[in-house]
Symmetry: C2
Subunit: 234 residues, 2 copies
DNA sequence: CGGGGCGTTGAATTAATTCAAGGCTCGTGG
DNA sequence: CCACGAGCCTTGAATTAATTCAACGCCCCG
């Protein structure tokens, strides 16, 4: 999962061979699909055929450049719709970070629901509004925040999204390399920032993929969300 | 226009006092509005009341952090819809870069058109798809491209959007500071990159705000759009 | 003529990357 | 059962891309 994707734009044959689950499309529309970890739901460059509604698991959406540099756009999980595009090609790839269950809704059926169900249309619009706002927030992070601010912001995001009340901890589902490609940093920098937060007792990080926020106020300040001066960002 | 905005979230009273044009809202719905250069259509934090359809001019959409750092999200011009959000607050501010004419459509009227006109709904969805794709492209630029690649990408974007066939040149409507806040760089770096492109005859830059692409192939390579090795990026 | 706003350029500084080495964990096979 | 290797993660040192700080030039307007 952590290696550079060698094929920026999948050739149709390649894409098909890797997406065995999509064979189900033809058997029955609005089908439940299963994707293994690291399997792709679709590739940048593919022709969109319908919308995926995630039922369980986590998907990463990303873009790659010709030389392999990767930018992860977002993480999608239960309740999210993917590929709600009217473009003739997917501009991003979608890869299962964990095992994923999804509902596939062909474009025509999706269109019909938009037409006929006002409530559905409203919730889709709300979802898209949220996606755009997230994209704005991400642009601010990538364009204007330093490494520590990005990392702190990310940990807050993770907690809001993946916190497990039972243990009080949050599991980091993705590798340092994935985090780096989401935050526009290198994996070494991500590691350094996280361990710096650990050493300064802002977070508890018993394992590389499990953490707990010890000082939320401080973390918010470090994330640049509060008008607080020099905490320990430098 | 180039100074840091001192008020990240406008207080309602402040926002109203600056948006005199909005007084028209109550006189007649679906009203044509005029905004002077540097006037705001709305502020980050305002309650959205409807959608703006740009008829002429250019608008910048941006976010500011508590300490004044600014990230410009996008430029909107004729045909674009702004504030198509279902959130209860604007997450970004919209400022007229030039004199702007816009149509204001109250949210209820916009909803109705969405419900009743399939063609309108489709074109709105297509527009939103495009906005999301642009946001993805921007995230890739901000997260993974170096200063020269960002600058080259921006010049190509400007040309596609603002090229004037009559003169063969493209006018740069915004300041170096605006460009920097769009590209996640400093204004000095933007200036350096542009003049480097000028010195190497990739572009013609007779005035700071007017340019013409002399070597598109080279510029595309520098933008990271082509699998080309070391052009002169460094 | 003077001054403000923008843009350019150089020099010093710094934040983040790159390169390199080593450590931990887990699964597999001897 | 332990050894070994692969895959991640961490950490340090050197390097570099971009920023910061500073000065200056240009152009337009009062």
């Amino acid at each position: 999962m952590n290696t550079i994707i060698p094929i920026p734009h999948s050739h149709p044959s390649v894409a098909l061979s890797q997406r065995v689950s999509l064979d189900n499309e033809d058997q029955s529309h609005r089908n439940a699909l299963r994707f293994d970890q690291n399997e792709h739901l679709f590739f940048q460059g593919d022709v969109p055929r319908g919308v995926y509604e995630i039922l369980s698991g986590t998907v990463i959406l990303y873009k790659v450049m010709a030389d392999g540099r990767r930018q992860i756009q977002s993480f999608a999980s239960a309740g999210d719709f993917l590929a709600m595009t009217f473009a003739d090609r997917h501009d991003i790839s979608a890869e299962a970070l964990t095992e994923v269950e999804a509902l596939f809704v062909p474009r025509a059926a999706f269109d019909r629901r938009l037409q006929e169900q006002a409530g559905f249309r409203r919730s889709v619009f709300t979802l898209i509004s949220k996606m755009l706002q997230d994209a704005h927030e991400q642009a601010l992070l990538l364009g204007r925040k330093c490494a520590m601010e990005r990392t702190a912001s990310f940990l807050i995001f993770l907690k809001e999204r993946f916190h497990e009340p039972s243990t009080g901890f949050t599991t980091i589902q993705m590798s340092r390399s994935d985090i780096a490609d989401y935050l526009g940093l290198t994996l070494e920098t991500v590691s350094r920032m996280m361990n710096k937060l650990k050493r300064s007792n802002v977070i508890d990080l018993p394992q590389p993929n499990t953490f707990r926020i010890l000082n939320m106020h401080r973390l918010l300040a470090l994330a640049g969300e509060v008008e607080d001066a020099d905490s320990l960002a430098a």
